[in-house]
């Protein structure tokens, strides 16, 4: 295991090492210590390595991740795993706003709560939140799944496209064009697989599903009150 002390090693040097790992590298396990809320940590990774971050971390941790597994043993700031392409990011604590923003693939697991706008503009990422999510989560969500084991704040799924939302607890309110949808056996099975992948012990039958009514897909003046 490579242990990197970020109080001694500049972030730029860490990334130079991580970005230049050969495809067949055997340096697959990394541990970052003394991270002290560093921003933009472990970003732009492209290899199937595993990075464990010990301590609380700042904005955009694991941003644009591809292939790598990043585990944050602490809380994290805004935009964790933003625009993630693939791989897995796991937050052992809580995450601030815009978690998984515009993510295009991969799995983001937040074991605690997530702040506002969780999964904003998500484009294929799967996000599983063990706690609750804040207001405007999945705003303009295009694809992928947002699973919330706790409650969801106001205006969930506002202006939603094709992202699928599953909430076990209460939803404060639904946003424009977001409606409850039937939880079919297909959805139960799919959600069950996702919960298992995320390591969450929950019964998929306890969740409600929400999705787009698709009424705002084409602008029409009759819908102007919805905007």
């Amino acid at each position: 295991m490579n242990v990197v002390d970020l109080s001694q090693t500049p972030l730029r040097e860490l990334h130079t090492r991580l970005h230049n790992l050969p495809k067949d590298t055997n340096e697959r396990l990394w541990k970052l210590i003394n991270v002290h809320g560093e921003h933009a940590c472990a970003v732009g990774l492209t290899q199937p390595i595993e990075v464990h971050i010990h301590g609380h971390i700042g904005y955009y941790c694991a941003g644009m991740n591809k292939e790598a597994t990043v585990v944050i043993h602490g809380q994290c700031g805004v935009g964790v795993a933003e625009n993630m392409m693939s791989g897995e990011v796991r937050v052992k604590g809580t995450a601030s706003s815009a978690a998984g923003a515009t993510g295009q693939g991969g799995l983001l697991v937040i074991e605690g709560d997530a702040g506002t706008r969780c999964g904003i503009s998500m484009k294929g990422i799967d996000i599983v939140v063990g706690g609750s999510v804040g207001a405007m989560s999945a705003f303009m969500g295009q694809a992928g799944s947002l699973v919330v084991l706790g409650d969801a704040g106001a205006n969930l799924g506002d202006s939603l496209y094709e992202a699928r939302l599953y909430v076990r607890g209460k939803v404060e309110s639904l946003g424009a064009d977001c409606v409850p949808k039937q939880m079919t056996p297909h959805h139960v099975a799919k959600l069950g697989r996702l919960l298992k992948r995320a390591g969450m012990d929950a019964d998929p039958k306890d969740f409600k599903r929400y999705g787009s009514a698709r009424k705002l897909y084409n602008f029409h003046v009759d819908n102007v009150d919805a905007y």
Partner: protein, 442 residues
Amino acid sequence: MSSTPFYTPPRWSATFDAHSIAEIHRAAQTGIYDIRGGGAKRKVPHFDDLLFLGASVSRYPLEGYREKCGTDVVLGTRFAKKPIHLKIPVTIAGMSFGSLSGNAKDALGRGATQMGTSTTTGDGGMTQEERKSSKTLVYQLLPSRYGMNPDDLRKADAIEVVVGQGAKPGGGGMLLGMKITERVAKMRTLPVGIDQRSACRHPDWTGPDDLTIKIQELREITDWEKPIYVKVGATRPYYDVALAVKAGADVVVLDGMQGGTAATQDVFIEHVGIPILAAIRPAVQALQDLDMHRKVQLIVSGGIRNGADVAKALAMGADAVAIGTAALVALGDNDPHWEEEYKKLGTTAGCYDDWHEGRDPAGITTQDPELSKRLDPVKAGHRLANYLAVLTMETQIIARACGKSHVHNLEPDDLVALTVEAAAMAGVPLAGTNWIPGRNGM
């Protein structure tokens, strides 16, 4: 005395003019605002309101056909390991595949590359074709993040964080369903045929402090190689430029209200934002106050048409200009060759601006495969290269006449204004006087 009965000829109202009345009728009939492409069409103070003084007894000109007048520009010298070197100070502004056809994007790349300058992606990501045809390609990070891909980020030569654009500062975008073909939809992860909205603000940052961290992230992802631009629509240029510099930008792109859009409400285009003429001096002042003029480069855009416009922008303190609408016209947009078809669309060559409808007879602002075929990317690229060459030569002609051995040596002292408004906005004297309105409390 005439025996003809006395009568008052019809008189148009200056307030309710023909256009206003037609718009009221249209709104009343349809119940929806007008959407169109392009930039502000109303007359606003512009570069035409400035003149160069040229050489005189106190200034020594350079020989037009013999003496060297440099045009190269280096962008991104502040932090980037690999700044961009361009042969000419004219770049191609961001325009998306989706709003433009694949052939149009290809042609832009070919023309720009031929002249040693850069092109820019747009909303919807980078296409393989434009990466191939553009030697120097700037990759935009937009609020929508449609097609955003870290691999493309690494393939780019520079990254442009788009905060806003001159045609619609503070507004998002709309690509109407008729242009959301299967390929465009796939690139943007959207269903085919829907009206695609582009967000007006970034999903994961708000304000200059967050922007600082976002720029840091982009630098870390790309190992500090790429110049990072920040593009703003011209509204509060002094503060926006200062904040972009504070956030760590290598280059600031400032787009005036005459800058084009693929599709926006007409009322937005015509009434939000300020002309580029009014925006450059405050932007340069911000750079000077921070001791960053020429260290953070300034690219300005919005209504650049000829070499005189380029020279005036540079003289006011810009390092380069960007062209969008003019580049499309150079490719063949609004060409009288298609007049019969423009008539069928209810318009005429020179006025066509329904770019959002995807029915462009010239095959540029469309995704219709048959219309797109009309644009030969090789020929159109050559036309753009010709136009860029003319812009550059015209800029040099003026610079030499002002005694400058490089176009960047043009300065505000070379300029005067024809109107009080332009003098105040550009910060140069009214012609024939030494009066700069607004200076020294006057």
